[in-house]
Amino acid sequence: MSFAEFLNNYMYYIGAFGLIFIGLFILLTKKNLVKVIIGLSIMDTGIYLFLIAIGYVHEGTAPIFSKPGLNAEGMVDPVPQALVLTAIVIGVAILALALTLAVKLYKHYGTLNLRKIKEQKW
């Protein structure tokens, strides 16, 4: 298929996985703890986008029956949206805990460089 068609079909997946891989790359290579936490957050955002993109139906609308008599066929899938709601809250909880630990780590070590925070030896 042509390039435009390919982009049209897979744009959301490419975008979502692009964010996931950027987040993973930051997580694996950066030295500063706050950057690593930001990378974790970017990866989580990519995952949420991927989950929502799975539920899309062509020309679909939001699954809310605001007027009586709306057709249930033309609505997108509500289940991935529910999954993402739960996953966002879990992501926020992990982020809050990570930032708290970063605050305490800075108080103890005076630096946020992960290569220097290595007091536990082999």
Binding site: F17, L28, H58, A72, P78, T86, A93, T100
Partner: protein, 228 residues
């Protein structure tokens, strides 16, 4: 060197995922349960917002787990940040100007109202307990940032938080004591589209909204206390 290894690892994972994504074409949803929920959701649960009926009624157990996760994070934060106040900092904070102070005090009840509206109408319009609770907490954040020196009362926020959680668990157990399953929708479903409809769903969402709002406000309180 590390970056090269990282890129190779990511390339391998990307190739694997691309292979697997061919089975999931974009725009055609292969869902079995989603279609069932869209078709029968309004009669079975009484809510017109399908996402709400999935979150609270069909997959309500996940929502119970989710508020537990948030509760765990809030308690964990409270356990780690013991709030040692450093005395020399308290005079370095400059008070905010009159416009900011008055503006924040004016916006605070507006934000409370918007947040409460969103979580009360969760079964009719997009939104719900978590979204409304987050807006309420952002109202508290505005007060912390704009008007220094005002703090939420610890006792009141703890009582509201515990009440919110107990509403959810209590409604679930009430379903059990009536001989049905846990989280059974036992209140009358009313007419779809009205405010007082959908059985226990708006009550659960009010509980969740109160819990999330006070919990996030507590987290903000802990973090700001740690830094001053």
């Amino acid at each position: 060197m590390r970056k090269l290894l990282g890129i190779i690892l990511l390339a391998v994972i990307a190739a694997g995922i691309a292979l697997s994504l061919e089975e999931i074409p974009f725009g055609i949803s292969k869902t079995i349960i989603g279609d069932y929920f869209n078709k029968n959701g309004v009669e079975e649960t009484g809510a017109t917002n399908m996402v709400t009926s999935v979150v609270v009624s069909y997959r309500g157990f996940d929502t119970l787990g989710e508020i537990t996760v948030l509760f765990t994070a809030a308690i964990g934060l409270g356990a780690l940040l013991t709030g040692h106040k450093k005395r020399e900092h308290s005079d370095k904070v400059e008070p905010s100007s009159l416009i900011v102070y008055t503006g924040c005090r004016f916006l605070f009840p507006v934000l409370m109202l918007v947040g409460t509206y969103i979580f009360i109408h969760g079964h009719l319009t997009p939104g719900g307990g978590f979204q409304g609770g987050a807006i309420v907490a952002s109202g508290f954040l505005l007060m912390y940032l704009g008007c220094k020196g005002k703090r939420i009362k610890f006792k009141a926020s703890t009582v509201i938080e515990v009440l919110g959680g107990l509403i959810f668990v209590g409604l679930g157990i009430a379903g059990l004591t009536m001989g049905e399953d846990f989280l059974f929708n036992f209140l009358p479903k009313g007419e779809a589209g009205e405010l007082f409809s959908a059985g226990i769903i708006p009550i659960i969402y009010i509980g969740i909204g109160l819990k999330v709002g006070s919990e996030l406000a507590g987290i903000i309180d802990n973090l700001i206390e740690e830094s001053t």
